[in-house]
């Protein structure tokens, strides 16, 4: 398979993205390697083609944003909002991720091998997020659909104001957010955890995970609560 190399020390992010948007099908490109990302923002955003993209180094904000079909791997760390609004395909980060991983992701798979900091999986809308390490505070905030699986620990206020997304955590949870509660694992949960671990190629026992989901007490306005949740 021919791998097309795009070097960000020679061309701009805009040129890289133009290639990824318009040239892949014409050139029959199935694999792209992006060199020297040096923390630049908006790399490989808005792809809609079944291509394999390898980013060699640390990337900045929004890498893999709005992704469809493509499989993007970052061989380094990433900044805020990796794979935000991802629709399908996958984004894998071999290092650590900063805040807001997979924010508002609708579909596809996002895997962080290392840690993912605050607000991981915020407002998820159907995407599956698997984190090999730990997640920071307010992860899963207002997540509506999809799954967040954390092999390490979770920071404070996990799953605050959750809707129907489900969170699985293997390690310790600093605290649960408003309306989030720990629930017993059912057979369907073990099967889901097994499936997510397999897709992310992590070897962990599903038996070690806890389930966190919405208690659904915020779904309807309760005037007796006096705004105390």
């Amino acid at each position: 398979m021919t791998v097309v190399q795009l070097d960000l020390s020679r061309i701009s992010v805009r040129e890289v993205n133009e290639y990824l948007h318009h040239r892949l099908a014409i050139n029959g490109t199935r694999a792209v390697e992006i060199l020297n990302p040096n923390g630049m923002h908006n790399i490989a955003v808005g792809l809609d083609y079944p291509v394999e993209v390898h980013v060699r180094g640390n990337a900045g904000y929004f890498i893999g944003g709005m992704n469809q079909q493509a499989h993007i791997s970052v061989h380094g760390n990433v900044g805020w909002s990796v794979a935000e609004n991802i629709m399908s395909g996958s984004v894998r980060v071999k290092g650590n991720a900063s805040e807001c991983t997979a924010a508002s992701g609708h579909g596809g798979l996002v895997v962080i091998d290392g840690d993912s900091s605050s607000r991981c999986g915020i407002s998820l809308k159907g995407c599956d997020v698997v984190v090999g390490g730990s997640v920071g505070h307010m992860s899963g905030f207002m997540a509506q659909a999809g799954h967040l699986l954390v092999c390490g620990d979770a920071g404070a206020h996990l799953g605050d104001s959750l809707y129907e997304a489900v969170i699985y955590v293997r390690g310790k949870i600093d605290s649960l957010g408003a309306d989030a509660r720990e629930e017993p694992m059912q057979e369907a949960d073990y099967a889901k955890v097994r499936e997510l671990l397999k897709r992310a190629a992590f070897e962990r026992s599903p038996r070690d995970f806890k389930r966190v989901a919405s208690a659904r007490t915020l779904y309807h306005w309760n005037s007796d609560a006096h705004q105390e949740y």
Binding site: G60, G79, W80, S117, S118, G136, M138
Partner: protein, 301 residues
Amino acid sequence: MCGIIGLMVRKEELRRSLGELILPMFDCMAERGPDSAGLAVFAAAVEPPLRRFSLFATGSGYDWYALAESLQREFGCRAELAVRDNRAEMIAPLEAGRFRQWLKARDGGVRILSAGRSIEVFKDVGRPDQVARRYGFAEVQGTHCVGHTRMATESQVSPAHAHPFTAGEDFCLVHNGSLSNPYSLRRLLEEEELEFETDNDSESACRFLQWRMQRHGETIEQALRSAFEKVDGFYTFLIGTARELILVRDAFACKPAVVAETEDYVAISSEYRSLAHLPGVANANIFEPLPERIYMWQVGA
């Protein structure tokens, strides 16, 4: 949005290269803050009773030599002045408070940007890359520095509103974020007879911390814990003292920060991309500071 940068070099031979190392970091962060720029450098401390004063002339053609002569007449001391553009670095055996009062009474044409044994402050409005070259940031030397590129959101764009803010001596703060209670902090401090130079929210945080240390005898850690209680809003603060760099983020960690540490330096920036070209960064320990945790690095440690 604003950009924050900080660098502390851990080897004596690197002190000469402080400016060269900081300039690319600074240029990169210009994108986060295009309207003003500033830098505080902690250089070799002068021996008492000498002090360093960074002075800023508000108009063009300020007569610095007349200022030096007046000082000679008034205080009977010699002031050593290095003038560059609208700014002068002065070394003189003057007590900071007394000099400030005297200068205020004498003329409004010059302001004190900083006072202390080792701090030097540069700040002005304009594109950060231009400000950096006008003042020669590439040539600065010292153990550590704190820089800022500003995108004003809470108060006007003026030289005095640019960061770093200083209070007391050898103390400065830069801020990315916005505070929601700067006026109540200010009222609290004005009752204690502290004077403000601007209506900027970051100035209130700077003066609050310095007040906690000076009037309440708190350490910087204790002062920051007081700030976690009293200062409301979004912030990443980077603070410089003669011996330390201190970094904190608010409880929500709403504003970014990245740290890269090697045996040679500790470098701090709003974004990794401004650290990406530092020598040895590929093998640096890179991490994101946690909310409401105090990170402190000391010269020589």
